[in-house]
Symmetry: none
Subunit: 199 residues, 4 copies
DNA sequence: CAATAATCGAGACGGTACGTCGCGTCTTGGG
DNA sequence: CCCAAGACGCGACGTACCGTCTCGATTATTG
């Protein structure tokens, strides 16, 4: 007899409706886009999704959790580095972050997690695992490759470099004026590669 | 006619109680520290401060505004650069940011403003003016001085450098693991000064 | 100085709105009349009364309590006995009960109290004190007068007689067929006065 | 073609489980006894009976119907009159009613039907047919026998007499104080037989 | 010094959303 | 066709806060 390949035993009872899943996530994203995190309330999500409130609470314990899952559906993968030039690859990654940071939905997503992390450590942990870490790993791979090919100086701290590259976009996204433009990514990468120090 | 030396005309009637002001701010900070922005509600602030709700609404239009004022009371000035070495000055500024970022109250403050900015542009604007900009200016002054003294390479982009220095701390403050340690600030500054590129 | 005639110290804060009181009771009676105890829900009462739910819950702990107070507004006093003939007086009291028992609202009121008494002993107690007992006392006074004037036999048990007179109406009000008619009250009184036994 | 002797055509497929029937009725009675009609809900009945909700709805259209059937299981037949003395027979019937009325489950049963009758006329009708009428008929038979044997006065109204005898117990069961005691039944019967009037 | 006027605490007001519970129906896989 | 399990849309529950609005009682300034 063949072992059951599924991780969990098949649940008894009526299975959850995937259509309801989709309707809820869709309604949540709509409402979030229209009126932000404050304006998102379970009652309206349920009404717009054509779903009972209990159907939502059966899946998520509260609105933050729902919102997180909904926003996760928005996470677009960063572009795969082309592998030709470390400078170009880093710039295209930073540029992708910059483009995302202009979307106010992404900004709120980051803030939600950054701010409520202390209250919902489980959520932030999952977000870091599924979103932040894979993206940092992309940067790391490029940086390691650069050190291997000699494009980058030996002995550089990869983690610190990742912090500066991704953090620059975060720092710029605060405030409404002086938004980063298309040239921003390249300038960040160049400054970091060349170094501020005189030689 | 004599010019009124005060900004606003002197009001008749009973003046507002400064004791109430202090009690409200104190209660708001307590509650924010205990349960975060979500857990902070005017009714609890009023109850804890021993104050009527109207006394709060007479001063602030809503909870965000109250919260912002309360949090502003927490903003500590960054250390004044000593002016000896650009490398040391930058490191001490970054270190001050890092220390702040460990305080969950500060993390929430940043996040609240970063995330709800789109909904409350007036608030974020004021925050940027009164908190963010003065701090960036400190970094700028050190960087300009470095370029003047020759410690820093000419032609570097000051704004981009500020982004990377301050953003690195932001990037690190996401997630709970791999918290930045005391040596972090110096490493960030050194990597940036030396540059990642090989030469 | 004159003693304060009010039983309780004047409450601080905004006093409760008597208009809200009336609107709530009115809406509750309307809904009860339309759809019975099952159909009466606080949410609808609030909506029809143009009142927040909290305004109701501030006054009554739940729907039973509200309903009881609302129904108490329906209690009409029994007719005062004329004092001429015991037979006539009893008949007119029984007739008043019979007329009431035809009103389905009264029937439900009785049933609510009779049935849920075990769950809400406080309520049934108050109902008995304010409604049942005063009415029984009316019967008792007539019966005592009859014994004093010689219209009634000495040694009769007043409580038992009250039970039979009022209970007959209760017994008849069960079921929909064979409703008691106008002559019913007199027949009950006559049968009881004459006695069933042959002599 | 052979006539089907059973009332309903024999159904194909798996027959209904009699064990489920019993478990449901038992659970319903338990819950009714514990928390009254309000506290009885199908979900709890199903859970306690170890039965799916559909299994209940396959048998009864709603909770009232289930409750009625469950309560019918509680109806004990009144004692058969011995036929020796009308006075004794009536007293034993009234006494049986009195004993029943002390059981709070019976009181609620009566109230449920008395009060919700207007909303569920089908139910009250069936209850009157199957429970009330047979009991009244017992009283009637005794009273008719009494008139035949001369123990009772000719011309008495049997229906009115039944109302008074059974209603007295109803009237007494309202309120918690002054519960009827063992001697109550005999006193009711005697007062009625002798009559209140002086002679 | 009395009148005026804004503030104070308390708490009720009409609302909105919360998260829970129960309804009666429907949908699984299995007997 | 029945069964246990449990999800479904629905709607009422009772609670918590929102921001506003009276209350009677306190202060200051003004006439």
């Amino acid at each position: 007899m063949v072992r059951e390949p599924q991780e969990h035993a098949r649940r008894v009872g009526r299975p959850r409706s995937e259509q309801a899943d989709r309707a809820i996530i869709g309604a949540a994203l709509d409402l979030f886009a229209e009126s932000g995190a404050e304006g998102l309330c379970i009652e309206k999500v349920a009404a717009r999704a054509g779903v009972g409130k209990a159907t939502i609470y059966r899946r998520w314990p509260g609105k933050e959790d729902l919102l997180l899952d909904a926003l996760a559906a928005l996470v677009a993968p960063l572009p795969e580095p082309k592998g030709e030039s470390v400078r170009d690859d880093l710039a295209s990654l930073v540029e992708a972050l910059r483009v995302e940071s202009i979307d106010p939905r992404k900004a709120r997503q980051v803030a939600l997690l950054l701010g409520e992390g202390a209250q919902y450590p489980r959520l932030i942990e999952r977000y870091v695992d599924t979103v932040v870490e894979p993206r940092r790993e992309l940067f790391r791979r490029v940086l390691r490759r650069g050190m291997a090919t000699g494009e980058l100086r030996d002995g550089t701290s990869i983690e610190v470099a990742v912090d500066m590259l991704t953090g620059a976009v975060l720092a710029r996204s605060r405030g409404t004026a002086d938004r980063a433009d298309r040239a921003y990514a390249r300038r960040v990468v160049d400054e970091l590669l060349i170094g501020l120090g005189s030689r």
